[in-house]
């Protein structure tokens, strides 16, 4: 290694950038693991990744910096977001620990691990560095240098990663794809099945009663005024998002009866 290239300090600008963006990255990372909602975690992580991309650039890894933004932030994090959407974007996690002693163990491990890593780095004699100027310049730039390595010394590894990506793609398809193992049943068959099982044969009753309560999340009322579960979609029922207006309706009914009674009573009195 050429010792003349060795240096001990970076430029002041980079130092400033490091301290500001480094803080952002750490905060982002902390938010990633502490946010209740997964979507927030994902956004924080994306932020941290962008900061890291900047650091790559600062370290002379121009190609990686760009790839970090395009592949990681652009593709992988979006994939995460998709999955978050699939799972339910509003679902918030409870951060309460359920495993006994897990938090303490985690804290102990994390702290010990971090301290050991930092101690290790501190222990190493890394006071000087070479910089990438020469390496990048050797083949006419960072990308060219990487390309040369990638297609010469690491070509086998490169090809194998290709195979790995293909495999991963196929794997993902296999895992998420549900094969229809039996023939789709015809409408006749479905109908027969319903009859056999003694399920509700006619269409389910519509939700809502009266004009002012015909929203899908409001159960229709039976003649006695109690709500009928059947009228609301199953999804809403499971999410407990059924709005119950039966008491209101019953009160209305009661008021109506009262009013009519009053009126009728008055009429009777009038007759007498």
């Amino acid at each position: 290694m050429n010792t003349t290239l060795a240096a001990t300090l970076t430029s002041t600008g980079e130092a400033v950038q490091f301290w500001i963006l480094g803080t952002v990255a750490v905060v982002g990372a902390l938010c990633t693991i502490l946010m209740k909602k997964a979507v927030h975690s994902a956004l924080c992580l994306a932020g941290t990744m962008i900061v890291l991309a900047v650091f790559y650039l600062a370290n002379g890894a121009y190609f990686l910096g760009v790839v970090q933004i395009i592949v990681y932030t652009g593709a992988i994090m979006m994939l995460f977001l998709f999955v978050v959407m699939l799972v339910g974007v509003t679902a918030a996690d409870s951060l309460k620990e359920t495993l006994k002693g897990q938090r303490w163990l985690a804290a102990g491990c994390g702290l010990g691990f971090g301290i050991l890593l930092i101690a290790g780095i501190g222990n190493a004699s890394l006071s000087t560095f070479n910089g990438l100027g020469a390496a990048n310049a050797a083949h006419g730039g960072n990308v060219e240098g990487l390309a040369r390595l990638l297609f010469t010394r690491y070509v086998f590894a490169f090809e194998i990663t290709g195979a790995l990506l293909i495999t991963a793609t196929v794997g993902a398809m296999v895992l998420t794809h549900r094969e229809r193992t039996e023939r789709a049943r015809t409408q006749r068959e479905l109908a027969e099945q319903r009859v056999r099982e003694g399920k509700q044969l006619p269409p389910l009753p519509a939700p809502g009663v009266y004009a002012r309560h015909n929203a899908v999340d409001i159960a229709g009322l039976l003649p006695d005024g109690t709500p009928s579960e059947l009228t609301v979609s199953k999804t809403l029922r499971e999410r407990d998002q059924v709005r119950d207006v039966s008491s209101e309706a019953l009160n209305d009914l009661k008021a109506l009866e009262q009013r009519s009674e009053e009126r009728l009573g008055r009429d009777e009195e009038a007759v007498k």
């Binding site: 902390l30 693991i33 002379g60 990686l64 970090q68 897990q102 560095f129």
Partner: protein, 99 residues
Amino acid sequence: MNPVNYLYLAALLFTIGAAGVLIRRNAIVVFMSVELMLNACNLSLVTFSRMHGNLDGQIVAFFTMVVAAAEVVVGLAIIVSLFRSRHSASVDDASLMKL
């Protein structure tokens, strides 16, 4: 500033990621924490590449990204199918691997 600070930062991020893996139950967040750890490693690789003055570190970081991409694809697929069958993305719910 000495680039070794990047290494400290990487160690810090790695530790945070590790802690995330240990304390979070949501599989997606756990997975994100893993990604964070991978990124921390990449940062240290890139830094080392700079310190040593050769590009091999970056190549390794590049491979890390590729592998991470593959891993995310499969991992997320697993999460999705797990969620489909169990209606939950909690890693604690998948605790059948015991005697």
